[in-house]
């Protein structure tokens, strides 16, 4: 399979050419596509970030959301040098989709499960980034 990192190799410190982010999707300029190749650590495949949020969680405690009733899934931490950082995921990103699965109306545990499926070595995320949002908004206003 093209694009699959062989198992057991450590995370590459330099961004790999194939993982350069494709241009933002045309439908919605706020969204980014991030492709993360999972890293094998012993028995587990990890992505190297943490998530917070979910429809069963209290959205008021989410430090990253602009709208404090937003129950979406947010990236709360990105481990240094991990697959997520290499792929371009940033702290504060809101995850909209994972491999096509919607993540805007899921529980915390469901979100975690959709990211940690053992059968999947690559996850393609659709994320929204506030900084990007603001930048586009500003560029539109100007």
């Amino acid at each position: 399979m093209i694009g699959v990192r062989p198992r057991g190799t450590p995370a590459c410190p330099l961004p790999c050419p194939r993982q350069q982010r494709p241009p933002a999707t045309q439908q919605n300029p706020f969204r980014q596509r991030v492709e993360i190749h999972k890293l094998r650590q012993g028995e587990n495949l990890i992505l190297g970030f943490s998530i917070g949020g979910g429809i069963d969680q209290d959205p008021a405690q989410n430090p990253f959301s602009e709208d404090k009733t937003d129950k979406g899934i947010y990236v709360t931490r990105v481990s240094e040098g991990g697959p997520a950082e290499v792929a371009g995921l940033q702290i504060g990103d809101k995850i909209m989709q994972v491999n096509g699965w919607d993540m805007t109306m899921v529980t915390h545990d469901q979100a975690r499960k959709r990211l940690t499926k053992r059968s999947e070595e690559v996850v393609r995320l659709l994320v929204t980034r506030q900084g990007l949002q603001k930048a586009v908004q500003q560029s539109m206003l100007a």
Binding site: D58, D67, T69, M96, T104, H108, D109, R112, Q133
Partner: protein, 559 residues
């Protein structure tokens, strides 16, 4: 008349007990004693209970116990007879001359029993709202083993009688006869029993519960005053003091090896009651079930030992079912690893001692030939000693004999699930209050949290994340790694595979309306995008959160 009957009954009980004792068959005696005690208990329960359902259950237990007692009695009589005539008790291995083989035993399982009903139009129109109900159950007998299914209530809204329970019989031979008897009782509001002699007859047929019961009743009614002690009269057992609901035999059938199949089959039922009988049910006349058999030769290893196989070397062979599994050494088999190779042993296999064109004084060999399509594959097995060769040959011949006796059961192993012991209906999990959903864990310490994170992620977290300053309350921690041992959790509808130190995500709490918030809409999987393009963000004032903030730390999970 009643007194005479009572005396006869008591004498019979005494006779039963004495016979059991005299025969010194402790196993049977113990079983008999157990059933007698159960029966007495059921009688007492029947006398004491007030509810109809209880009475039905108690009468059913009574019937089952009585059947078992009768069956044990029959067995005892046979053994007593044999003893008196000077022969030893018949055991399966003793039958016939020593070189005659007997097939191995097996386990028979009958499950998913369904009996179709055939309601007529009259049933709908004649009652005018009254729902006639019947209580039915099945009595199954194989050899001396009697088992029953659960009692099911049937009315005209059902198209079939379905029994969920599955029944298992062990130690059955391939010549088994599984007798199915369907008993039914009419469940009515009024419990009128007409006349005293009829009452007695009713009680008797309750106790005996079989065609013998009907015969007794008939003989009592016809004979009038005589104690019903004709030659065909069976043993009379003590009757319960009060008359309970009446079970009648509605249908019966006998299943044998020919009916065994790894799948559902329909068999014919012999209907034994007609429309005049009070408990008559419109049965369609067939019964659908799954009758599976597992002969011991398919589930247990028949023979094992060291072999030397041509072109494979020395292996440890285990003969089980339709295969000879060959492992490198015995440890592999117990470790449940895959065998080195497998030789098929089935009805088509040919086994021959020695080799073709064998020179004189040749080693002890066995050849096993199978046909695969057009090719014939032969394996040569070399034994360690003549004794080993004899044992293997014997095991193979026994296996072939078992296969010929158990027929279709030896083609492939039929799956049998051991049914769990029948429990009373489970108590519903308590729908607790919010407090039940809060997990109280000692991991409130942020230092402990950062320690855990440090251990997991490797590089130490010297600086706490910048957003930590935003919060005054303690934050939640990451979840435990996947391979951590599971902590015990309260019984709930949707458990997660990993233990969370902060309690499980509260998917059940969608209905719990928090203070000042509207109720949540039902979750749909095809929800449209949210978040982006939202209106001006609404800031929530921290004081408005109240106790909820403390109770619900915002979960963060590493992925």
């Amino acid at each position: 008349m009643q007194d005479r009957l009572h005396i006869l009954e008591d004498l019979n009980m005494l006779y039963i007990r004495q016979m059991a004792l005299s025969l010194e068959d402790t196993e049977l005696q113990r079983k008999l004693d157990h059933e007698i005690r159960m029966r007495e208990g059921a009688c007492k329960l029947l006398a004491a209970c007030s509810q109809r359902e209880q009475a039905l259950e108690a009468t059913k237990s009574l019937l089952v116990c009585s059947s078992r007692i009768l069956s044990y009695m029959g067995e005892l009589q046979r053994r007593k007879e044999a003893q008196v005539l000077g022969r030893t008790a018949r055991r399966p291995s003793d039958t016939g001359p020593p070189d005659e083989r007997s097939p191995c035993r097996g386990t028979i399982c009958i499950s998913d029993i369904r009996i179709p009903l055939m309601w007529k139009d009259t049933e709908y129109f004649k009652n005018k709202g009254d729902l006639h109900r019947w209580a039915v159950f099945l009595l199954l007998q194989l050899g001396g083993n009697i088992q029953d299914t659960e009692m099911v209530l049937v009315d005209r809204t059902l198209t079939d009688i379905s029994f969920q329970s599955s029944v298992l019989f062990t130690e059955a031979g391939p010549d088994f006869e599984l007798r199915l008897e369907l008993y039914g009782a009419c469940v009515e509001e009024e419990g009128a029993l007409a006349g005293a002699p009829r009452r007695l007859a009713t009680k008797l047929s309750n106790s005996l519960g079989r065609s013998s019961g009907r015969r007794v009743r008939a003989s009592l009614e016809s004979a009038g005053g005589s104690g019903g002690s004709s030659a065909a009269s069976p043993i009379l057992l003590p009757t319960p003091a009060v008359g309970g609901p009446r079970y009648h035999l509605l249908a019966q059938t006998t299943l044998t090896l020919a009916s065994v199949q790894d799948g559902f089959r329909t068999h014919d039922l012999t209907l034994t009651s007609n429309e005049e009988s009070p408990a008559w049910l419109p049965l369609y006349g067939s019964v659908c079930c799954r009758l599976a058999a597992q002969p011991l030769c398919m589930t247990q290893p028949v023979m094992s030992g060291t072999l030397r196989v041509q072109s494979w070397g020395q292996v440890h062979g285990i003969l089980k079912g339709t295969n000879l599994f060959c492992y490198r050494h015995p440890g592999e088999a117990s470790a449940q690893e895959d065998p080195l190779f497998t030789i098929a042993i089935n009805k088509e296999t040919r086994v021959r001692a020695g080799e073709r064109d064998q020179p004189r004084g040749a080693p002890l060999t066995l050849s096993i030939s199978n046909r695969y399509g057009g090719d014939e594959v032969t394996h040569m097995l070399q034994m360690e000693s003549r004794g080993a060769l004899q044992r293997w040959m014997e095991a193979l011949w026994q296996l072939f004999f078992d296969m010929s006796q158990w027929k279709q059961c030896c083609d492939e192993l039929m799956k049998i699930e051991v049914p769990p012991p029948r429990k009373p209906p489970p108590v519903l999990a308590k729908q607790g209050s919010l407090y039940h959903e809060m997990a109280i864990e000692p991991l409130d310490d942020i230092a402990a949290v950062t320690d855990i994170l440090a251990k997991r992620e490797g590089p130490p977290l010297d600086v706490p994340p910048p957003w930590l300053a935003l919060f005054t309350e303690k934050l939640s921690t990451s979840k435990l790694p996947i391979h951590a041992p599971r902590s015990p959790s309260p019984p709930r509808a949707c458990p997660g595979p990993r233990a969370t130190p902060w309690g499980r995500p509260r998917t059940l709490s969608l209905d719990a309306v928090p203070r000042g918030r509207p109720p949540l809409p039902p979750r749909s999987s095809s929800s449209s995008s949210s978040g982006s393009g939202s209106p001006a963000p609404r800031q929530r004032s921290p004081p408005g959160r109240g106790f909820r903030a403390k109770a619900r730390p915002w979960l963060q999970s590493p992925v």
